[in-house]
């Protein structure tokens, strides 16, 4: 009788222990999931903001190209169909997300330099009241904002990885150009920039699904 009692007590102890362990395990899992959800939400918000800004920048770039074409006089459509060298590649390079995000950043920086040149050229070609100049400034500033968001996003994702410097060194600008070349150059920069933004938008959507879910 006593032996039975002892056996029963031990059995009860084991059950209690199992229950407690199970509870602890559940709590641990839940805690981990909460942290993951929180990080994922933060990542998602950050990407979402970047996506929105990219979309806005795309929209403004489209408007800018229209304004640019309207401001260049006749043959503006033909001007924009010509290809130009020494313009950043619209494609995003790199295999890893960190590399691709860094590529976005460096491309943006490169485009900013070209935008500056285009602005200078168009300042000479257009009247100060021409909305093209204001739009160029806006898109340029907006690109800078996007670059800072990308940088921030990169640092939030890869805090221990410093943003790499551009692979090809400082951005190279085209040599002095005549007016026609300037017009062609400007349109090529804008169009390439727009194409690049489309790629960025796609990339960010991919990153959002890949990176933020993985956090």
């Amino acid at each position: 009788m006593n032996g039975y009692v002892k056996r029963m007590s031990f059995q009860q102890f084991m059950e209690l222990t199992t229950t407690l362990l199970s509870l602890l395990l559940v709590m641990a899992v839940d805690s981990t999931r909460t942290v993951a959800v929180s990080g994922s939400q933060q990542c998602g918000n950050s990407v979402q903001q970047t996506l929105k800004l990219t979309r806005l920048l795309k929209k403004e770039s489209v408007d800018l190209i229209e304004t640019y074409k309207a401001s260049q006089g006749e043959m503006s459509e033909d001007l924009c169909n010509l290809s130009v060298n020494n313009i950043p590649d619209p494609n995003i390079s790199g295999l890893e997300p960190s590399e691709r995000i860094a590529s976005i950043y460096t491309h943006l920086q490169a485009f900013l330099t070209h935008f500056k040149r285009v602005y200078e050229q168009q300042t000479d070609l257009q009247l100060p009241s021409n909305p093209l100049l204001a739009e160029l400034t806006n898109v340029s500033t907006r690109s800078r904002n996007l670059a800072s968001l990308i940088n921030s996003f990169y640092q939030s994702l890869f805090p221990n990885l410093p943003m790499p410097e551009p692979a090809g060194g400082p951005t190279t600008l085209p040599p002095p150009q005549n007016v026609f070349q300037q017009k062609v150059y400007g349109c090529a920069v804008l169009k390439t920039h727009l194409e690049f933004l489309s790629n960025v938008y796609r990339e960010l959507r991919t990153l959002k699904s890949k990176v933020c879910r993985g956090i």
Binding site: Q49, T50, K52, L53, R55, L56, K59, E60, T137, N138, T141, R142, R144, N145, S148, L149, N151, S152
Partner: protein
């Protein structure tokens, strides 16, 4: 230890203090000299004596604004230093002076060197800016690059202002700041940093300290406020009479901000908005369909927007009104059918049917269809659109129908452009078979509304009640359900108007009998008072007044009473009579007095005076004059009768006095002494008496003869003269005083020639006209002459018995007067007796004919005198 440290610090302060003491040879130096002192804090200052041993710290004292600081607040550091601690209060700038008592002449003479002051610029320590909020408005198709922020600040003084610096940092990008002393500031950027994270805070700083507000770390869209949605359009579709489709354009491209919307709408004229639930519009939409609207109703719609994220952005202002009418639909519900009986005739009832449009006409009612038995009428109506769509239910007179005494069922439907309503039914019960009315109907007014209360009738089961109110030609009604015992009239009742309020119980068998009361929503004083007038002429002490009731539309309340005012002079009397009185008799009035009267009609709200009416009471009461006249008449009659009786009874005496017996001269013995006389005397014999009589009247009554009579007299005189004139007897007897002798004129000479003997008479002629006699144009002088008559004296002069005969004869001789006149009693005028005047013959001749009524007595008297 602490004290020593303080002293050291103070010495440092003195060293660093303005060189007021050293530069100006002051013997007192104060410290510290702060830029500002905090209001509400304790401030400690030290005064130190330098370069003199003439005074000590015990001789020092402190003043703040001319007031000496109590010694309890002093702390003596050593023999040459004195501390003071004061509580800084007030906002004005003050001086805190360290002064020295006048302990020596030198101190008195160099008072300026024995003082030093600290300027206390007071201020508040900056408070943390609270409620920081920032906003960016839409500018064109973008957001403005200017962000305006505002905050709540603490108090500050002019001498210690607080400077605020607004910091705006675009995270990982740029930073901006702007300073101000106001509680708001704007930061301008190159473009609005969409989708960037901003950090905004305010720093408040003054000489007393620095403090920062909380930091707003938000996305840029948190601060945006867009323009209201544009191009609001409402689409009305005929197939959806209860729906309107709203479309709009977002004020800004969705790439800048994703918006959500809010819609509100109301019926035109209403001020109560209905909000579409947020759950239906809190999304990026550009159209919305409003449902469950009323057909044929005008709706006003507005839309506004804000950032889709709940906690971000500000609501834009509401868009401009967009107005649209919903399509028409067939009338919902039934017309409200009612009736009133115009007249009852044997075998027929003339009933007027009226109805209100259905509650929801859903369009313009174009006609009503009315059906009684097999008879059907179409009553077209031509109401304006405004009528049909107003909230007031229009009343339409349908048809006046002669109904038989039997029970009748009347159906009415309302028709609009879309369709026909359900029929309304009213049952007119058999004549005389109407069921009983409600009991104990009471009406009152509360809160500007008229309420009714009743108890249900005992007869039958009531389906519903109809409350009807009627004033003049205006009739309206409302329906109440069967359980109602107390209700409020929902129509637009006017103040000061009398309403006949009736409650009809509606039975399944028809309309019951009405219970009716009169009521006012609010009473006022009557618009005009009653017009008072006299019923008839006012009496001596009473007057009956009458007036007409004030017209119903002028009463403006229930007349409680009339007050009659009547006033004579300063006395004002009043009488109050009940409201059902229209006449009243004023009594106790004064005779022959003018009264002013008016009537005031009173309601519970006051009185209104009617017109004034004046009347004068009679001097005599009714019949009084008649009574006096009758009395006077009777008195006069009595006098007449009495006189007649007296005359009859005293006939002899009167006769004797008025017609004395005159002796007949014919029978006088003197007739015998003139034999020629008879031939001349025969002719006037018939009138001898009258001739004599006339002569006497000349003297008695000639005074009263009027001038016109003299004409006739002169004619007669001529006549008389043609008859050889009278003798001096006649003339003297009348004209002269009886006491004097009578002398005839020269004409008498002729007579004397005819007489056998001549008697000399004396004649007295008055120098002046006789009293009452017309004065002669010829100058007259009094003289006395002796008659040349030779006529012998009558026997009667010696013997009175024959006097009559003699006179008679003279009459016969000279005057041809009717015999009856000659028989009149002659009385001698006493006045003549007194007079001593004697007329000449000529004068006497003038007066002779007028003396018809004279008595013969003067002559007789005259004779007596002679």
């Amino acid at each position: 230890m602490t004290q020593r440290l303080g002293v050291v610090l103070l010495l440092c302060c003195f060293t660093a203090a303005p060189p007021a003491a050293a530069g100006h040879d002051n013997y007192l130096v104060t410290a510290p000299h702060p830029e500002a002192v905090e209001i509400g804090s304790d401030f400690t200052a030290t005064c130190m004596i330098i370069d003199t041993a003439e005074v000590t710290a015990d001789d020092l004292y402190w003043n703040v604004s001319q007031a000496t600081v109590p010694k309890e607040q002093y702390t003596k550091i050593n023999r040459t230093a004195l501390n003071v601690t004061i509580r800084v209060s007030g906002e004005e700038v003050e001086w805190l002076f360290c002064l020295c008592k006048k302990v020596s002449v030198n101190v008195v003479l160099n008072q300026g060197k024995f003082m030093h002051g600290i300027l206390l610029r007071k201020g508040y320590r900056p408070r943390r800016p609270e409620n920081l909020s920032c906003i960016t408005l839409q500018e064109g198709s973008l957001f403005s690059p200017v962000i305006t922020c505002s905050w709540v600040t603490g108090p500050q003084t002019k001498v210690c202002p607080t400077k605020f610096t607004l910091f705006l940092k675009v995270i990982n990008h740029s930073a901006h700041n702007v300073s101000t002393v106001e509680s708001s500031a704007s930061v301008a950027m190159s473009i609005f940093p969409n989708y960037m994270e901003l950090e905004i805070w305010v720093e408040a700083k003054n000489t007393l300290g620095t403090v920062e507000s909380e930091r707003l770390k938000r996305e840029a869209e948190y601060f945006v406020k867009t323009n209201p949605p544009a191009n609001i359009q409402i689409i009305s579709e005929k197939s959806f009479p209860t729906s309107l489709l709203i479309t709009w354009s977002p004020p800004i491209d969705k790439h800048y901000v994703t918006l959500k919307f809010e819609i509100r709408f109301c019926q035109n004229g209403s001020h109560e908005w209905t909000y579409v639930p947020h759950s239906d519009t809190a999304m990026d939409i550009q159209s919305f369909r409003l449902q469950k609207l009323l057909p044929d109703s005008v709706y006003v719609t507005q839309v506004r927007c804000k950032n889709l994220k709940d906690d971000q952005g500000y609501w834009s202002t509401w868009s401009t009104n967009a107005t649209k009418r919903t399509p028409e639909d067939r009338p919902t519900g039934k017309p409200d059918l009612w009736k009133f009986v115009d007249s009852h005739d044997v075998g027929k009832r003339l009933v007027q049917f009226i109805c209100k449009d259905p509650v929801l006409t859903n369009g313009r009612i174009t006609r009503f269809k009315m059906k009684i038995g097999s008879q059907e009428w179409i009553i077209p109506v031509n109401h304006s659109e405004a009528d049909g769509r107003s909230n007031h239910r229009r009343i339409t007179s349908l048809k006046k129908v002669h109904l038989s005494d039997k029970k009748s069922l009347v159906y009415v439907t309302a028709v609009n452009s879309v369709g026909e309503s359900a029929p309304a039914l009213i049952v007119i019960p058999e004549k005389g078979r109407e069921l009983g009315p409600v009991q104990q109907l009471r009406v009152g007014v509360q809160g500007g509304q008229m309420w009714l209360q009743w108890t249900p009738p005992n007869t039958g089961t009531v389906k519903e009640y109809v409350v009807q109110w009627l004033t003049g030609d205006v009739l309206d009604w409302q329906r109440e359900n069967r359980s109602t015992r107390h209700t409020v009239i929902k129509g637009n009742l006017e103040k000061f108007v009398c309403y006949n309020v009736s409650v009809y119980p509606i039975y399944s068998g028809g309309t019951g009998q009405a219970a009716t009361v009169q009521a006012f929503l609010e009473q006022s004083v009557p618009l005009s008072g009653p017009n008072v007038e006299l019923t008839s002429k006012a009496g001596h002490t009473e007057a009956e007044l009458q007036w007409k009731e004030i017209p119903q539309n002028h009463r403006r309340g229930f007349i409680t009473n009339y007050t009659i005012f009547y006033q004579s002079g300063d006395k004002l009397h009043s009488v109050t009579v009940p409201s059902n009185t229209t006449s009243f008799t004023l009594t106790g009035l004064s005779g022959n007095t003018r009264y002013n009267t008016w009537i005031s009609a009173s309601t519970i709200a006051g009185s209104t005076k009617g017109n004034n009416h004046s009347f004068t009471t009679l001097r005599y009461a009714t019949g009084e004059i008649e009574f006096i006249m009758a009395g006077a008449s009777l008195g006069f009659l009595f006098v007449i009768v009495m006189t007649m009786v007296l005359c009859i009874s005293k006939k002899d005496i009167i006769k004797r006095n008025f017609w004395p017996q005159i002796p007949n001269p014919g029978e006088s013995t003197i007739g015998n002494w003139s034999p020629d006389q008879p031939s001349k005397a025969e002719t006037p014999k018939q009138n001898c008496l009258s001739g004599i009589s006339v002569l006497d009247m000349d003297m008695c009554d000639g005074k009263m003869v009027f001038d016109e009579d003299k004409t006739s007299l002169s004619l007669k005189k001529d006549k008389y003269l043609s008859e050889e004139h009278s003798s001096g007897i006649g003339g003297s007897s009348c004209m002269s005083s009886p006491r004097q002798s009578v002398s005839d004129s020269d004409e008498g000479g002729d007579l004397a020639d005819t007489t056998a003997s001549t008697v000399q008479y004396s004649s007295v002629v008055a120098s002046n006209g006789y009293k009452g006699q017309t004065p002669s144009s010829q100058p007259q002088s009094a003289f006395f002459s002796r008659s040349e008559s030779t006529q012998p004296l009558l026997d009667c002069e010696e013997n009175p018995d024959i006097l009559v005969q003699d006179g008679s004869r003279q009459s016969q001789r000279f005057l041809r007067r009717p015999a009856e006149e000659a028989l009149e009693p002659k009385d001698f005028c006493p006045l003549e007796e007194d007079s001593e005047l004697t007329l000449t013959d000529e004068q006497s001749g003038d007066w002779l004919p007028t003396a018809a009524a004279s008595s013969y007595m003067p002559q007789l008297g005259g004779y007596r005198q002679q």
